[in-house]
C-alpha cells in the first residue's frame, strides 16, 4: 500500500464499487448535516487526497470505546472507518507489539509532521507525575504530549478523554484529567460517550479532508452535527413525557407500554448526544428504546451525578447530601420557624413597651 494512495483508489482496490463509494460519500454528507450541494466536494476530496494517517492511542481507559468502534453500524462504514483510521498505530488491533509497535508510531510521526490525526481514547493522569498509567515505561501524559506535537488535530474519543469519566469521579485518586487539559496548542475535538458513536470519527476525518478544517463544534467542544441535540428532545418516548405518562417501576404496566423513563432516573433531559438519532448496532436501538433510562454518559462528571436509577430531581447533591428540593424545603421550614420566633419576640417586646408606657402615665 503506497502512502500516496487516495481513499478512492484504496476503496477500489478493496473491491468497493464506484456506486458504493458514492453511497458512502452521501452518507457521510448526511451525517455531517451538510447540504446536498456539498456532496461533490466530499467525493472529489476522497478521490484526490491521500489517506490521512491516524494514530490511535489507548491511555487510561477500558477499551469500550474501541469495542464500540469495531462494531460501528453500517458494514461499509465500518470497513472504511477501519481503514480510514489507517491503523498506523492502535495497540488493540495492531499485530506489532513492544518496541516494534512504538517504532511504527514514531515513524508515522516523523513521516507526516503536522499531517496526521491523533485519536485518543482514555484520560491522562497527573497524580504522582503520571505513574498511574504507563506504556513501555513512559507515562501516558508524556506519550500524549509527544504524539500530539505533530498532529493536525486531536480527537478526544470517549468520555475518559473528554471528561475523565469513571476514574475522574470523586475523589479521583489518580488525578485523571481530560485531554483538553494537557493539549492546549492543537484543535481538540471532544467526542464524549461511554462509549461514543463510532461514526463521529469517520465524519470528522471526512470533514477535515474535504474542508481542511475540523467540523463546527458545540459550546462544549463537540462536533455539532452529532452533539447539538439533547437525547430527550429526540427521544422515542418523548410523547409519553409530554403526555405525563411515566414508568414508576421496571415491571409496571407503563413499562410494558413503553412510557417515559423520567422517574426511573433517565438523564436524557440533560444529555447531549446522538443516541436517539444515530442509534446503535446498525440503528437497531439505543438504551432508552430498549427500556433502560439514559445514564448521561456523555456529560461531564456523569459518574458523580448518581445513583443512575434515581429520578433526576431526587439525586442527592454531592456537597449537601440531599437533593436540592429537599434542601429547599428544609430552608423554607427554618425560615418559617424563624418568622414565628421573631413574631413571638416582637409580641413580647411590644407588650413590655406598652406596659412600661402605661406604668409611667398616671
Amino acid at each position: 500500500m503506497s502512502k500516496s494512495e487516495t481513499y478512492y483508489q484504496w476503496a477500489r482496490r478493496k473491491g468497493v464499487s464506484r456506486r458504493d463509494f458514492f453511497k458512502f460519500c452521501t452518507l457521510m454528507g448526511a451525517m455531517l448535516g451538510l447540504e446536498a450541494t456539498e456532496f461533490p466536494k466530499i467525493v472529489s476530496a476522497l478521490q484526490s487526497k491521500p489517506r490521512l494517517p491516524v494514530i490511535y492511542l489507548n491511555l487510561q481507559e477500558c477499551t469500550c470505546c474501541g469495542e464500540s468502534f469495531l462494531r460501528s453500524s453500517h458494514p461499509l462504514v465500518s470497513d472504511l472507518i477501519f481503514n480510514m483510521i489507517s491503523l498506523d498505530y492502535m495497540e488493540v488491533l495492531q499485530a506489532a507489539a513492544g518496541k516494534q509497535a512504538e517504532e511504527v508510531r514514531l515513524k508515522t510521526m516523523k513521516d507526516h509532521p503536522g499531517g496526521y490525526i491523533l485519536v485518543v481514547e482514555g484520560s491522562v493522569t497527573l497524580g504522582n507525575g503520571g505513574v498511574f498509567c504507563t506504556i513501555g515505561g513512559v507515562s501516558t501524559t508524556d506519550i500524549l504530549k509527544q504524539t500530539a506535537e505533530g498532529a493536525a488535530a486531536v480527537i478526544a474519543y470517549g468520555s475518559c478523554a473528554t471528561n475523565a469519566c469513571v476514574q475522574g469521579a470523586y475523589p479521583n485518586p489518580t488525578e485523571a484529567v481530560p485531554i483538553r487539559r494537557v493539549i492546549k496548542n492543537k484543535p481538540v475535538i471532544d467526542v464524549p460517550g461511554c462509549p461514543p458513536i463510532a461514526e463521529v470519527i469517520t465524519g470528522t476525518i471526512v470533514h477535515y479532508l474535504t474542508y481542511g478544517e475540523i467540523p463546527e463544534l458545540t459550546n462544549q467542544g463537540r462536533p455539532k452535527a452529532f452533539y447539538e441535540h439533547r437525547v430527550h428532545d429526540n427521544c422515542v418516548r418523548r410523547a409519553f413525557f409530554d403526555a405525563g405518562q411515566f414508568v414508576e417501576s421496571f415491571d409496571d404496566a407503563g413499562a410494558k407500554q413503553g412510557w417515559c423513563l423520567y422517574k426511573m432516573g433517565c438523564k436524557g433531559p440533560t444529555t447531549y448526544n446522538a443516541c436517539a438519532i444515530t442509534e446503535w448496532n446498525d440503528g437497531v436501538s439505543y438504551p432508552i428504546k430498549s427500556g433502560h433510562p439514559c445514564i448521561g454518559c456523555s456529560e461531564n462528571n456523569f459518574f458523580d451525578n448518581t445513583p443512575f436509577y434515581t429520578h433526576l430531581a431526587k439525586i442527592p447533591n454531592n456537597a449537601l447530601g440531599k437533593d436540592v428540593d429537599q434542601v429547599g424545603m428544609d430552608v423554607v421550614g427554618v425560615a418559617g420557624l424563624a418568622v414565628v420566633a421573631h413574631a413571638g419576640m416582637t409580641a413580647v417586646v411590644k407588650h413590655g413597651e406598652k406596659k412600661a408606657k402605661e406604668g409611667s402615665k398616671p
Partner: protein
C-alpha cells in the same frame, strides 16, 4: 394621644403593576417548575389524547418570559421612577440605615427610623433574592430552553452557561435551588409586610394596591420629594 399622619404617594402605578405581575409570575413559575421536576399526577390512557406535561412546560416558558420582561421593565423604572423606586447600594446612608434597621429587627433598639419607602435591609433582600437570584434563574433557565433549538437565538446568547457549570445537570440543579430562594423570600416578605403594617399602622399592605402610605407629618419636611 393622636398622631398626625399624612398621606404620601409612594408606589407609582408601574411599581405596583410590576409587583403584582411579579408575584403572579413567580407563583406560577414555582408551581409549574416543581411539577416539571416532580410530576406526581398520572395520566391514564393513550398518549395521543394528552399533553399535560407539555402544557405545564409551555406555561412555565410563557411566564418565564413574562417574568423577564417584567424585570427588565423594572430595571428601566429604577431610572425613570420616583425616589422610592430606587436602590442605591453604593451610598453611605444606605449602609448606615442597614445597620440601624438590623438593630431594630434584632430588638437592640426600640424604634426604627421612619421609612416611607423601603428600608435598607428590605432593599438588600430584594437585591439578593429577587435581582441576583432572578438573574441566575433566568440565565440557567434560558440555557436549558436554548438546548432545544441548537441554532436558535437563545442558545447563541446563553449557551455559555452550560459549559460554565460543567454540565446541564448542574444547570438544572442550580435552577431548582434558586427557585427555593423565592419561597424563602416570600415567607420573610409577607411576615415583614404584616409586621410593619400592624406595628406602625402605616398602610403598608394597602399601599401595594393604591400606592399611598401614611407617615408622621413631622417627617414630611425632612424628606422633600423630588
Amino acid at each position: 394621644m393622636s398622631i398626625l399622619r399624612s398621606q404620601v404617594y409612594v408606589w407609582e402605578f408601574p411599581v405596583r403593576f410590576f409587583h403584582w405581575v411579579n408575584a403572579l409570575a413567580i407563583t406560577i413559575l414555582f408551581l409549574t417548575g416543581m411539577y416539571i421536576g416532580h410530576p406526581i399526577l398520572d395520566t391514564p390512557g393513550e398518549a395521543v389524547g394528552h399533553f399535560f406535561m407539555g402544557r405545564v412546560r409551555y406555561w412555565h416558558g410563557i411566564f418565564a418570559f413574562i417574568f423577564m420582561a417584567n424585570m427588565l421593565f423594572r430595571l428601566y423604572w429604577f431610572w425613570a421612577g420616583n425616589e422610592y423606586s430606587k436602590m442605591r447600594l453604593w451610598k453611605k446612608e444606605f449602609w448606615r440605615d442597614a445597620v440601624t434597621t438590623f438593630k431594630y429587627y434584632t430588638f437592640m433598639t426600640r424604634e426604627h427610623a421612619e421609612h416611607v419607602g423601603h428600608n435598607a435591609l428590605a432593599q438588600l433582600m430584594y437585591f439578593f433574592f429577587v435581582w441576583l437570584g432572578g438573574l441566575l434563574i433566568m440565565l440557567t433557565g434560558l440555557a436549558m430552553r436554548g438546548g432545544s433549538d441548537p441554532n436558535g437565538t437563545i442558545q447563541t446568547l446563553f449557551g455559555w452557561v452550560v459549559p460554565l457549570l460543567r454540565n446541564e445537570y448542574q444547570v438544572r440543579n442550580l435552577h431548582h435551588f434558586l427557585a427555593w430562594g423565592f419561597a424563602v423570600f416570600l415567607i420573610g416578605h409577607l411576615y415583614m409586610v404584616f409586621r410593619q403594617d400592624i406595628l406602625d399602622d402605616d398602610g403598608t399592605i394597602s399601599s401595594m394596591i393604591n400606592g399611598y402610605k401614611f407617615e408622621l407629618s413631622s417627617q414630611n419636611n425632612k424628606k422633600a420629594r423630588p
